[in-house]
Symmetry: C2
Subunit: 296 residues, 2 copies
């Protein structure tokens, strides 16, 4: 294993522990809800958002317990969005990470409440009193996550996505959708890792922001490429589903070759934002490589 | 109009203005989502939770802009819970406050996102930097609202409610459900009004807490009585629906006469918590009267 794989593996493992301690035990009433929340939030995913928070925290010397809480809060928001996104009235997906999606494993009403309660738990985690020595800064971190998650961030991106089904979006419109739908939370993950530092370095914050915006889009372009190329078995969700649903993707708009070039350009943009930081930006650099080369 | 009615009317009007300024304009993209959020959160209801925040703020000399933000945040949480609660996979209600419920006016996917985004907006409102001169206190207010809203508060109460359909609950179990489902947020509304004060008075906080817990249960008992007695026209929702759905209510468990006695007892408990405060507690006293005597 490479040094990066060890680092990422440790964080993925740590995230499971942190989420395990944050999520109410399945023995606590209401049990079915708590069991379903754990089912939806734990044991899965590459935790790309958590890795971004840690990597940005690494650049900015953010204290581990603050990075940890920020990463967990972002992963909880992400988990809630997946649960609601999979529901019959949205994407109606039966599989998530190779397992039955939450509403298939439980039921629609429970999945609705699971998403609701995971969102609340994210803000509970990030607003935990005393987490950051500077309470005003911590409030700003909460505020940042609310803006990234709400109707002008992630949830708004979902709404734009709904409106776009069957429409012929151009690249600019597609980008606007993804900047909200996935980009906002990815950006928030990196910014929170940086913003949790005791001493803010505005140059580093700006670098992390540029990096995160490029890598957030690259993430989506790569997702579309994977979706177009992969089969159900390797991806753990119904492959080609977006194309079938007549949803615009980077591949349908640009073609596979140009989409791959775009991913490479965004990767280069992300790296150039880090050029002043050398080894300090090692994890962000490795993560950019990982995100843009997941399996091609 | 009585002095109380003027006071309440002013707050109800002020809440509309505050929500109007907090909610993104319907002209801002994604427009359908923003229009639906406004449809769901504005123009309705007695704003009992906002009134509680203001009345507790009145007892504790909390600054108006802090009470206002706390009241709006609680009303946004309440609005989100109604939107999700009305959805087909939950109570499947076509009417809310005499208008088509959000998913009937728009669609299920939009209603799902509306609830999600209203919840986020609640925390965005309460975490607005600089709202409270004491940032640590403001963080604690955010934390309080998350706990009241999440899986061990309101959302948990909804889950217990789901599990209780068709079951023969006793009064203790019914109470446990309502303490979560409606009580937690009502209590949070009053506590936030008190907790926003610059100088905390622990005796007053305790009094508000006891008051709010009694009045929160009274509110639900009265709701069950109204539901049993009212017809669709006056209530603006499908009357008797809970009883039809074989959901336990205070009236089905205790009978109408005993339920009314219980409401009166809870009212008396709430008042006795305020006994040391005389005129300072005038609004809380009037509100207790209003809540327990809405229409009988």
């Amino acid at each position: 294993m490479t040094d990066f794989q060890v680092w990422a593996g440790n964080i993925q493992e740590r995230m499971e522990q942190v989420l395990d301690s944050i999520l109410p035990a399945a023995e606590i009433s209401p049990r079915r809800l708590h069991a379903a929340m754990r089912y939806a939030a734990m044991g899965g995913g590459k935790r790309v958002r958590a890795l971004l928070a840690y990597a940005a925290g690494d650049l900015c010397d953010t204290r581990p317990e603050i990075v940890e809480a920020a990463a967990a809060a972002v992963e909880l928001i992400h988990a809630y969005s997946l649960v609601h996104d999979d529901m019959p009235c949205m994407d109606d997906d039966d599989l998530r990470r190779g397992k039955p999606s939450c509403h298939r494993q439980y039921d629609d009403a429970t999945a609705l409440l699971v998403g609701d309660a995971l969102q609340t738990l994210a803000f509970q985690t990030l607003s935990s009193p005393g987490l950051h020595p500077n309470a005003a800064r911590q409030l700003e971190m909460v505020q940042l996550l609310t803006i990234a998650s709400g109707s002008r961030g992630m949830a708004g991106g979902q709404a734009i996505d709904l409106e776009s089904v069957g429409k012929a979006l151009n690249q600019t419109e597609l980008e606007a959708m993804h900047i909200h739908k996935t980009g906002a939370l990815i950006r928030a993950a990196a910014l929170l890792g940086a913003y949790g530092a005791e001493q803010l370095d505005s140059d580093k914050m700006r670098a992390v922001d540029v990096y995160a915006q490029s890598i957030g889009l690259a993430f989506q372009v790569v997702d579309d490429i994977l979706d177009a190329e992969a089969d159900t078995a390797t991806l753990g969700k119904t492959a080609g589903k977006d194309a079938h649903a007549n949803k615009p993707t980077y591949v349908t708009i640009l073609g596979l070759k140009r989409a791959k070039e775009l991913a490479a350009e965004l990767h280069a943009n992300a790296l150039s934002a880090l050029k002043d930081y050398g080894d300090q930006a090692q994890r962000l650099t490795q993560l950019a490589q990982y995100i843009t080369h997941r399996s091609f």
